[in-house]
């Protein structure tokens, strides 16, 4: 089953990382991702730009466009992974490995109901 692993963290903290710290985290994460990729289990991975770049569309009638993220929370959605896992335990294990490479913050693990890989966007 496909699981989405949604990455939440305080973006002020992540934004305070120096470029070296950021690069160190990314290269540690790359090791975990590589393992999943080789096993053919890794779907798309995304790192989102800061919530200051976000726009929210509330689907009222007529729809309302708002600046900023949908919810003002202490931790923000900063990115996500899609990973093919046997079951929830397996998905938690993957999240564990990712968390060991990049401590701090929270992962929300959600089974994926519909997945359309698309494949044209670059």
């Amino acid at each position: 089953m496909l699981y989405a692993i949604l990455c939440y963290h305080d973006e002020d903290v992540v934004g305070s990382w120096t470029r070296e710290q950021d690069a160190a985290v990314m290269s540690k994460l790359a090791v975990v991702q590589d393992k999943l990729k080789k096993a053919g289990r890794l779907g798309p991975v995304a790192r989102l730009l800061p919530t200051t770049a976000a726009t929210t569309l509330r689907k009222d009638d007529p729809p309302v466009v708002l600046d900023g993220p949908y919810a003002e929370t202490k931790e923000q959605l900063l990115g996500f992974y899609l990973v093919d896992c046997e079951n929830l335990d397996d998905a938690i294990g993957v999240a564990h490995d990712l968390g060991a490479a990049n401590p701090g913050g929270t992962y929300e693990i959600r089974p994926v109901g519909l997945f359309q890989p698309g494949g044209t966007a670059k």
């Binding site: 903290v13 305070s16 710290q21 770049a53 726009t55 466009v65 600046d67 900023g68 401590p103």
Partner: protein, 424 residues
């Protein structure tokens, strides 16, 4: 990442909120700062053992406030408050209390802190120094280094600024709507100045001063989070990101300036460009234009051009025209003249420069641009005069070296012409 790096990042990011809240309690910059320092020291001792608290800012505010009150009581030889280790164990209770204290104040606390550091009574140099010290938490040594002055001189500048803030009647109450928008502009201007201090560095100093650019971007994002629907703050943040994206390409290995046309565009930071473009996109939807947005739009046109010849100079000319109306300044017109020369040729650019000659008679870039345009027209003797003047006005050795390379080319060209002529 090591423990201490995590804690450092957490302390840095919690700083504006924590110092802002402590300032609300104590109404004195020094006391607030000292309380925060104390709280940080305790965090360094406590967090590695107990793990970081769920809300570092709330923890620091509580502990800092208690430490400062404790200090006052101790000096009055009264009973001390409970140890902060005891308080911090009551994680949930602590958080609720802190949230009740601060949840609604969060935005105002940070704003007050920014407003005080960018107080209109302070000269710009002091505003910048105070903002970097108090809001960003850079050490005096770091700030002194970035501004290329001695630590003692910077210490004095900050002390003076604090004294001035203390003697000025700074309102600690939440400013009203009108004052808020006025002061917001002042804060934006300070952030822009901090960035420029870093951006205008020469090749030799750009490494030392780059943190100023990064800090300005962090502050701009902070301000944007407080004012999520202000198109000018989006514009400012976009402008800083788009300019800073070129940092890696602006100087060569010898520290000499590389002009936009000659920069290796693969060295531009695409992530910063993406964020800058997203922000300017958002800002434009508001249809409330302003100088930062226009400047960001110009930077965006450069960022979007894969090669120099792809640059939409006609659009840049129009944008500089808009900026001239919003913010009339000979420097803006000078920049427009460059765009005009790209669209309609060097002669047209030169014509635009002529009326500026008097007002920009002491401005390095005026003579640099003038010399370059004259050179394109083959008026080499006049170009040489302009370049000589530019060298005399250069602010950094990199600027002077850059103009000298033009002069060398002129001399080489005229030597070539000379040999051709003698062959005839």
């Amino acid at each position: 990442m090591t423990d201490s790096a995590w804690i450092d990042a957490a302390l840095t990011s919690a700083r504006p909120q924590a110092v802002g809240a402590l300032l609300r309690y104590f109404r004195n910059l020094d006391t607030a700062e000292e309380a925060f320092q104390n709280a940080c020291l305790r965090a360094l001792k406590n967090w590695p053992q107990h793990g970081p608290p769920r809300d570092p800012a709330a923890w620091l505010i509580m502990v800092g406030r208690n430490a400062a009150i404790d200090e006052v009581r101790r000096s009055r030889k009264q009973e001390a408050l409970p140890e902060d280790e005891l308080i911090s164990d009551l994680d949930d209770a602590e958080e609720k209390l802190a949230e009740r204290l601060d949840g609604s104040h969060y935005r105002d606390d940070i704003l007050r802190l920014l407003f005080i550091c960018c107080h209109p009574d302070l000269p710009a140099t002091q505003q910048i120094a105070l903002a970097l010290r108090i809001v960003s938490g850079l050490t005096v040594k770091q700030i002194a280094r970035a501004f290329l002055v001695s630590e003692a001189a910077m210490e004095q500048r900050i002390t003076r600024a604090k004294a001035r803030v203390a003697s000025a009647d700074v309102p600690f109450e939440t400013p009203g709507a009108v004052e808020r928008s006025e002061r917001l502009a002042a804060v934006a201007a300070t952030i822009y100045l901090i960035f420029n201090e870093g951006y205008s560095a020469s090749g030799e100093t750009s490494e030392i001063r780059k943190p100023l650019c990064e800090e300005a971007i962090r502050l701009a994002r902070l301000l944007l989070r407080l004012f999520q629907s202000e198109p000018e703050i989006m514009g400012l943040t976009a402008l800083l990101l788009l300019q800073h994206a070129r940092a890696g390409a602006r100087f060569d290995a010898n520290g000499e300036i590389v002009l936009l046309d000659d920069q290796d565009r693969s060295l531009w930071n695409q992530k910063m460009i993406a964020e800058g473009l997203a922000l300017i996109d958002k800002a434009m939807r508001h249809r409330r234009s302003g100088p930062y947005q226009v400047q960001a739009a110009i930077a965006a046109l450069h960022a979007r051009a894969a090669r120099p010849e792809d640059t939409d100079w006609a659009q840049i000319d129009l944008l500089y025209g808009a900026l001239e109306i919003m913010q009339p300044s000979p420097v803006v017109t000078l920049n427009r003249a460059v765009a005009v020369s790209k669209v309609r040729g060097p002669e047209a650019g030169l014509q635009m420069l002529e009326p500026l000659a008097e007002r920009l008679s002491g401005y390095f870039h005026f003579f640099g641009v003038r010399g370059a345009l004259l050179m394109q027209l083959g008026r080499n003797e006049e170009a040489r005069v302009a370049f000589d003047r530019a060298i005399a006005l250069a602010n950094t050795s990199a600027e002077a070296a850059h103009i000298r390379s033009h002069l060398d080319r002129l001399i080489r060209d005229s030597a070539k012409l000379g040999t051709k002529a003698s062959k005839k």
